[in-house]
Amino acid sequence: MTTTQLNRKLTNALVLLRVFIGWHFLYEGIVKVYNPDWTSFGYLASAQGPFSSVFGALTGEAILPWVDTMNWLALMFVGITLILGIFEKAGALVGMALLAMYYLAHPSFPWLDQINVEGSYWFVNKNLIELVACWILFLQPTGATFGLTRLLSKTKTAQS
């Protein structure tokens, strides 16, 4: 197996990972946008761990609507950039930031009660894994293989 082949396979796998993570983020964002009753209140108010008071402070009447809007905007930004394969480094970074906050609001520490989680975790949970996956996407953009970046780079090449 040559290095080129390995790289191509790895790149294809990374493209799939990028699209799936984008898919996940976009769907979460869309569901919130189209549901006017949705609020992050419950998630924030029940926050645990060392930063619970910080998340609790976000539930204030004045800021909660902003927090909610920023959340779905960020989710959709990550989703759109990762699926379309454009500005994906920015998308991956925002994704990491969101996931870090989700993790810190309800960290899988064994001494905390796990609320509203599906599965069993010991420090590492799905949010943390997805965060690391976003890091990989940040380090290794694949939009030039599958995504709008490919067209833009070709256009640039053609123009130059």
Binding site: V19, G29, Y34, N35, G42, Q48, I83, G147, R150, K154
Partner: protein
């Protein structure tokens, strides 16, 4: 610029994926909302709005507190008066909760409570430590809280316009009647009375008094119960044939084994006044602090906790006094010298009551109200209203499930728009509020909607609302939620249950005569008050 097909596929391939996800997410979410809206439109339930009461104008209402024990202190907090000791305790509890990273909002809730136009001017407690605590905590530059040795002295002083009565049960009626005869307004804790004859007499007294009487069933202010009334009025549940309500507690506090104050002694307590009409016995700390455990002063589960559940339902259904009551139970979990049961079941029959019917006329009529209690188990059994068309869980939240065999919902069930196991309605005024509850007993009351309600997502003490309504009624001569008729129905129903347990017989109500039906030659009040020897021995006497 020339793009090959391959280039276009790899460059633009993300767009259809994005479109598909967008479409799927939007369609699913909007579809679910439409289905839900269709059901809600069918049900047409109007979640209640916060109660508005006319302002408590003029000079502050001058209030005297009779009985400054555990409940008396809570009632004063609802009026805006907390003891220095309570504030210190809460500050400590708040700091501890903060350190442990859990919410605890009791002190914050108290400080956020709207001020009431009221002034506590007097206290009457027969235990020096309690009376002195009230004086020390509630006196300020304007007012020195005055201590009265007896309730008659306080009521006759002319210095109090209204009294709050939070004494043992056997003192409720004598004090309330004394106040009402002097046109002093009364807020009295439940059960309103201790005997049947007192109940009849108090109703006559209240109807002839200018004083406004409010019985302490604060849950009548709970928003979910007002919404539940709308649900019943619209016949959503169909004919309700069975109601199950429950008490489950499994701790000493819940079984009325309250703390005994270290300063309590015959020198600091007016024992003769405590006893009042109760059988004369030597000074007894257990009886003084834990009076709920004896029929001589309290009414056991029937008067203490059944009354809450009965009135919660009477407030929603307005079913009145049961035609008959059968009760059973025993002293099975706390054999500590008490003579009131700690496991208790009462079945109340309402053969002529109906919440309406979706079936052929005349098929359905009548309802049984079951109260089931144990002080030796802490499972949270919800209050359920079971109708032909739907079942409703009633608490601070409301949930309605359609019945699989409902007549009213048959078309929607057939079309798959409703499923028996899926709730069709859920009302949770607390959805945007944060709870910080500590003890098992307070959680017990909170779940039942007995402690607080939610207004615009903010937690509000329901006792505060109940007090505010009473004070507003005093100044504006308005109605109260739990006046003499509601109190009468609650007290009679509770006494029927207690009597049935004591006699081991069915106790019936004569609606026409407005009296409990005589049973043989038995003196019903004597039977109700009878104090059999306690079961078991107090813990301090155990080896």
């Amino acid at each position: 610029m020339s793009w090959t097909r391959r280039e276009a596929l790899f460059g633009l391939g993300g767009i259809p994926i994005l479109g598909a996800i967008w479409w799927a997410g939007a369609r699913g979410t909007v579809g679910k909302r439409r289905e839900r809206d269709a059901i809600l439109e069918t049900l047409n339930i109007q979640p209640s709005l916060p109660p508005a009461v006319p302002a408590i104008g003029g000079e502050p209402v001058k209030v005297g507190v009779i009985g400054f024990g555990i409940r008396g202190e809570q009632l004063c907090r609802a009026l805006g008066y907390a003891t220095d000791e309570w504030i210190a305790d809460m500050e400590e509890a708040t700091a501890l909760a903060k350190a442990e990273g859990r919410p605890f909002t009791a002190l914050e809730d108290f400080r956020n409570q709207d001020p009431l136009n009221v002034r506590i001017v007097g206290v009457c407690d027969i235990f020096d430590a309690r009376a002195e605590k009230a004086i020390r905590s509630f006196s300020d530059e304007q007012t020195t809280v005055k201590r009265y040795r007896t309730y008659t002295e306080m009521i006759g002083s002319g210095d109090v316009e209204a009294v709050v009565i939070a004494t043992p049960d056997h003192w409720h009626a004598p004090m309330a009647m004394e106040a009402l005869r002097n046109n002093v307004h009364v807020y009295v804790e439940k059960p309103m009375t201790h005997t049947l004859s007192e109940t009849y007499e108090l109703r006559d007294t209240a109807l002839n008094s200018k004083g406004i009487l409010q019985v302490g069933h604060q849950h009548r202010q709970t928003l979910s119960f007002k919404t539940a009334q709308d649900i019943i009025d619209k016949g959503i549940l169909g004919h309700v044939s069975l109601i199950t309500t429950n008490t489950n507690r499994n701790d000493d506090n819940g079984a009325w084994n309250y703390e005994i104050h270290p300063d309590a002694s015959p020198d600091t307590i007016d024992w003769a006044q405590f006893l009042g009409s109760a059988p004369e016995i030597p000074f007894n700390l257990n009886h003084f602090f834990r009076w709920r455990k004896w029929w001589a002063y309290g009414s056991g589960l029937s008067g203490d906790l059944l009354t809450h559940d009965y009135d919660r339902l009477n407030c929603v259904l307005k079913m009145g006094i049961p035609a008959s009551v059968m009760a059973s139970g025993g002293i099975y979990t706390h054999r500590d010298g008490r003579n009131v049961p700690d496991v208790f079941q009462a079945n109340m029959e309402f053969p002529d009551f109906s919440t309406g019917s979706s079936q052929v006329k005349g098929k359905e009529k009548g309802m049984t109200f079951v109260y089931s209690a144990s002080l030796g188990n802490g499972l949270n059994r919800p209050t359920m209203l079971m109708g032909h068309d739907a079942s409703m869980e009633l608490g601070n939240r409301l949930t309605i499930w359609p019945d699989g065999r409902s007549t009213r919902f048959a078309p929607m069930l057939e079309e798959g728009k409703m499923e028996p196991q899926s709730p069709i309605y859920h009302y949770n005024p607390a959805a945007t509020a944060l709870d910080g509850v500590s003890s098992a007993t307070s959680q017990y009351f909170a779940d039942k909607g007995l402690m607080w309600t939610y207004i615009d997502g903010r937690r509000v003490d329901s006792t505060f609302l109940h007090m505010r309504e009473w004070l507003s009624a005093i100044r504006n001569d308005g109605p109260v939620s739990c006046g003499i008729q509601e109190g009468f129905e609650e007290a009679i129903s509770a006494h029927m249950a207690g009597l049935s347990w004591k006699l081991g017989r069915r106790v019936e109500w004569d609606a026409e005569a407005q009296r409990v039906k005589p049973i043989d030659e038995i003196d019903l009040d004597a039977a109700l008050l009878e104090s059999p020897p306690g079961v078991g021995v107090p813990p301090e006497q155990m080896g």
